[in-house]
């Protein structure tokens, strides 16, 4: 078998992306939702790296993936801080309980 090609990487990235999204949609715990976000971002990263290797995207792909990692970190930090603040006010991080704003 000729080893691992571009499509396999895309499939892995796709799985990561879908699981990330499903996790975000189903998790009731705020932290679980944030994990889902991470999964999505990493799925995209895998894509970038794969494309930089197999298509003429070249170094751009890898540079982007580096930036994505940094940004994921920043986002996670802010998200966790907000989740903490949410916990202080609602004494729970169950996302469904936060539905005072509606209509």
């Amino acid at each position: 078998m000729e080893g691992v090609g571009l499509t396999e990487y895309l499939v892995v990235a796709g799985i990561l992306f879908v699981s990330g999204v499903v996790c975000m949609a189903t998790k009731r715990n705020a932290i679980g939702v944030l994990m889902g976000v991470e999964l999505v971002l990493n799925g995209a990263n895998v894509n970038f790296v794969a494309f930089s290797r197999y298509t003429k995207l070249g170094l751009d792909g890898q540079v982007i993936s580096l930036f994505v990692i940094v940004l994921a970190a920043a986002e996670a930090a802010v998200a966790l801080a907000i989740a903490l603040n949410f916990y202080n006010n609602h004494l729970t991080i169950d996302v469904d309980r936060g539905d005072e704003l509606k209509g």
Binding site: M24, V95, G98
Partner: protein
């Protein structure tokens, strides 16, 4: 008459008549504000009104004299038929100012003076002067600060209000202005303008005691009835305007902007050629109905129809509709069948009003217009006029027999006499009809004033059964009334004629002329014999109810002592006009056809109009009587009429005058005559009311017919109108408004429902991101594929 003098006489006449016309308007403006410059109790307003109308009379009489002098009284020389003096141009017309101009179309306020106008002016101003003087006395009880109105019952007893003496005279002056304007009008549009102005004056005058519900309803009814007539009038106008393009009666030479004199063809010149005949192209293949030939308006007068086929044609039936439309206006104004129910109710107004407006002048306007517009009427229209006149005169006469209120009797008699005039015009007797109009104006206003002085004397008592034997208390009124009654019945002493003049009052001559014309007409076209029999019969009934009225009120024992004791002769300011009017009522038609009045009217009879239509009518060939034909039958017709009148008088004398016979019991004996009147009825024998009841039944039937069929129709239309209106309002509120609110609510509900989409739950939002993307992607695929 050479053009130079024609010009100067035209100027003179115009100034005189315009002065006569505008004086009452100035009076009106003065009197409306009388409340401010003069005290409410002063008679200043009355004096100003009388002065204006009297000055008006002097001017119009002077104009008449001047006109006669200028035309060397040619009109009065006896001549065989009116046709041959056509060469003398008999009318003066011109324009005051143009109302509006649209390209070639032009509407203006202009004047048209001929002998008919002069006669009408003199008659109207004379009668108006007399009535103004009479009214000073009659309306004197309005000169108080707290006038007590018996007929109005408010919460606290009778109604008190300050007197409105000056307002009454203001309305009278406004009325005289509009009436004179109507007579002076030079085009049919201007007639329409003053037509409605006269209508509004009658509205104000009928509704003078506006506190009384009956008075204001009567005023409304009168105005709306007139408006129904005007609706027909408007349709006539529309047709004329669209097909003829002008409203002017007669041709007029105008100098337009750059000096060239342009011929402005009138209505009559376009329809009838020089010899007065109308050319009708029979209905041929390419056109389903006959067409009437009109001279091309832009064409110069001289080159009319001789051989000229060029020029517009209009559908025949449309010209008939136009004629009927204009006649509808006359029916509305002169209270002919079927629009006559408003006149009896109009008696709500003070008696001088009934005398001036609802007997002599306004109601006569309808006949005047029919006369003025005569050349435009086609045979079918003339026939309708005749039949409407006939029905009206008979119906009104029968109802008058039964009426007990003195003013209602006179009202129905007016309607009946107007029927006569319409019949006269309808059967081709143009001069006879207008002759009767003039004479009738005098004696009818005289009788109304007499009834006014009776009512004034008996303190507003109008019911005849309460009167009786008043001759001893009010001799002058009684005798002047007698003159009027004799005039209207047309009594005369046959055979004896002192130096050629028959001893008879004016009514005899004018009614005689109409009956003669009707007789010759029915001889010429046999199928219309009714048009002679009914008026003859009517003459008899007229005599009966007029003398019944006279005997009822003045002769015999007083039926109600309370009324009798209070009765007193009216003051001099009231009986003086009675004397003057009775003189005119008697001798205005002095020497009948040979008299100057008849000759004056004859002078303006449209040239050979009648026989211009001989082979025109579609409904069989109607041939109209020529003057010569009428001359021969005159004597016979006179005798028949006199016979019938005498019969009526004696009958009335027997029942009410001598009271030698108890009317109820004796009436049973003369069942034969009355049977003749009520032949339809199965005659069930009830002892005393055997013959009175049928007459009452017919009368009541007519009254009932009036009240529920016509009035019913009126109320029905009002009710349906109101119900449509409420339906309309509900439709308006529900459907149209509902639609708007529905749209509003739908969007509002849509808005509210969208709130539920925003559930506030985070996970549902996130799910939407992916669902959104995939959803759009799928839609795009479907859409693009």
């Amino acid at each position: 008459m050479d053009p130079q003098t024609y010009q100067s006489t035209g100027e003179m006449l115009r100034n005189l008549l315009t002065l006569a016309w505008l004086l009452p308007l100035a009076g009106f403006v003065l009197e409306v504000f009388a409340g401010y410059w003069s005290h409410r109790l002063s008679r200043a307003a009355a004096y100003s009104a009388v002065f204006c109308i009297a000055a008006g009379f002097v001017c119009s009489f002077a104009a008449l004299m001047y006109w006669g002098h200028q035309t060397h009284w040619s009109a009065l020389e006896s001549h065989a038929s009116p046709a041959d003096h056509h060469d003398v141009l008999k009318y003066f017309s011109g324009t005051y100012y143009t109302l509006a101009e649209f390209g070639k179309l032009r509407i203006a306020i202009d004047y048209h003076i001929d002998s008919l106008t002069l006669v009408m002016f003199t008659m109207v101003t004379l009668i108006a002067t007399m009535i103004h003087i009479f009214a000073i006395g009659y309306m004197s009880d309005e000169l108080t600060e707290h006038y007590e109105d018996h007929q109005v019952h408010t919460a606290h007893g009778h109604f008190h209000r300050p007197g409105r003496f000056y307002m009454f005279f203001a309305y009278l002056s406004l009325f005289s202005f509009s009436m004179l304007g109507l007579v002076l009008a030079g085009n049919v549009f201007q007639v329409f303008v003053f037509w409605e102005l006269v209508g509004v004056c009658s509205y104000f005058l009928i509704g003078f005691y506006f506190e009384r519900k009956s008075a204001s309803t009567a005023a409304n009814k009168a105005f709306i009835m007139n408006r129904v007539g005007d609706f027909g009038f408007l349709i006539g106008l529309m047709i004329l305007w669209t097909w003829f393009g002008t409203f002017q009666f007669n041709e007029r030479v105008e100098s337009d902007a750059n000096g060239r004199d342009v011929v402005m063809p009138g209505l009559f010149d376009m329809l009838r050629d020089d010899h007065g005949n109308v050319t009708v192209l029979p209905a041929n293949d390419h056109d389903s109905y006959a067409r009437v030939f009109l001279a091309d308006p832009g064409h110069s007068g001289a080159l009319k129809h001789e051989g000229h086929k060029e020029g517009k044609t209009m559908p025949y039936f449309l010209l008939v509709v136009a004629g009927l439309g204009i006649f509808a206006g006359c029916v509305g104004k002169s209270a002919q069948f079927p629009l006559q129910t408003w006149l009896p109710d109009a008696m709500e107004g003070p008696t001088p009003v009934s005398a001036l407006v609802h007997s002599a002048t306004m109601v006569a306007a309808g006949v005047y217009l029919a006369g003025r517009f005569y050349p435009m009427f086609l045979p079918e229209v003339l026939l309708t006029i005749a039949y409407v006149g006939c029905i009206t005169l008979f119906m009104a006469a029968t109802i008058a027999v039964v009426a007990t209120d003195i003013k209602r009797v006179l009202a129905y008699s007016t309607i009946s006499q107007l029927g006569y005039m319409m019949l006269g015009i309808g059967v081709g007797g143009w001069t006879a009809g207008l002759f009767h109009l003039i004479t009738h104006a005098f004696f009818k206003s005289l009788m109304f004033l007499c009834s006014g002085s009776v009512i004034h004397g008996c303190h507003h008592e109008q019911e005849m059964p309460k009167m009786g034997g008043l001759i001893r208390k009010m001799p002058i009124t009684a005798y002047t009334m007698l003159v009027g009654v004799i005039a209207i019945c047309g009594l005369a002493i046959p055979g004896i004629s002192i130096f050629g003049i028959k001893i008879a009052f004016s009514g005899y001559h004018s009614k005689d002329a109409i009956i003669a014309t009707a007789m010759t007409f029915s001889q010429l076209n046999g199928s219309h014999f009714l048009l002679f029999v009914v008026p003859l019969l009517g003459a008899g009934i007229t005599a009966f109810y007029m003398f019944r009225l006279w005997f009822y009120t003045f002769i015999g024992q007083p039926r109600d002592h309370h009324v009798y004791d209070h009765a007193h002769e009216s003051p001099v300011v009231m009986w003086a006009p009675l004397i003057v009017l009775s003189f005119f009522a008697a001798f205005v038609a002095f020497k009948g056809e040979a008299g100057s009045l008849f000759k004056l009217l004859l002078d303006t009879e449209p040239a050979s109009v009648a026989h211009g239509l001989h082979d025109v009518g579609l409904a069989g060939d109607l041939n109209f009587p020529s003057h010569v034909g009428i001359e021969e039958n005159h004597k016979a017709a006179g005798l028949y009429a006199l016979l019938v009148a005498v019969m009526g008088t004696t009958l009335a004398y027997l029942f009410y005058g001598a009271r030698v016979l108890n009317p109820a019991e004796v009436k049973r004996q003369f069942a034969g005559v009355h049977n003749f009147l009520v032949e339809k009825w199965q005659f069930d024998i009830l002892y005393d009311a055997a013959f009175v009841r049928p007459v009452h039944v017919i009368a009541k039937w007519f009254v009932a017919f009036d009240r529920n069929v016509l009035d019913g129709f009126l109320h029905a239309t009002a009710r349906t109108a109101v119900s449509i209106a409420t339906l309309d309002r509900r439709f308006d509120e529900t459907v149209v408004d509902g639609l708007v609110n529905l749209v509003g609510n739908v969007t509002y509900d849509a808005g509210r429902s969208l709130r539920y989409v925003q559930t506030g739950r985070l996970r549902q939002y996130v799910m939407f991101i992916v669902l959104g993307v995939v959803g759009i992607w799928i839609v795009m695929r479907l859409f693009a594929a």
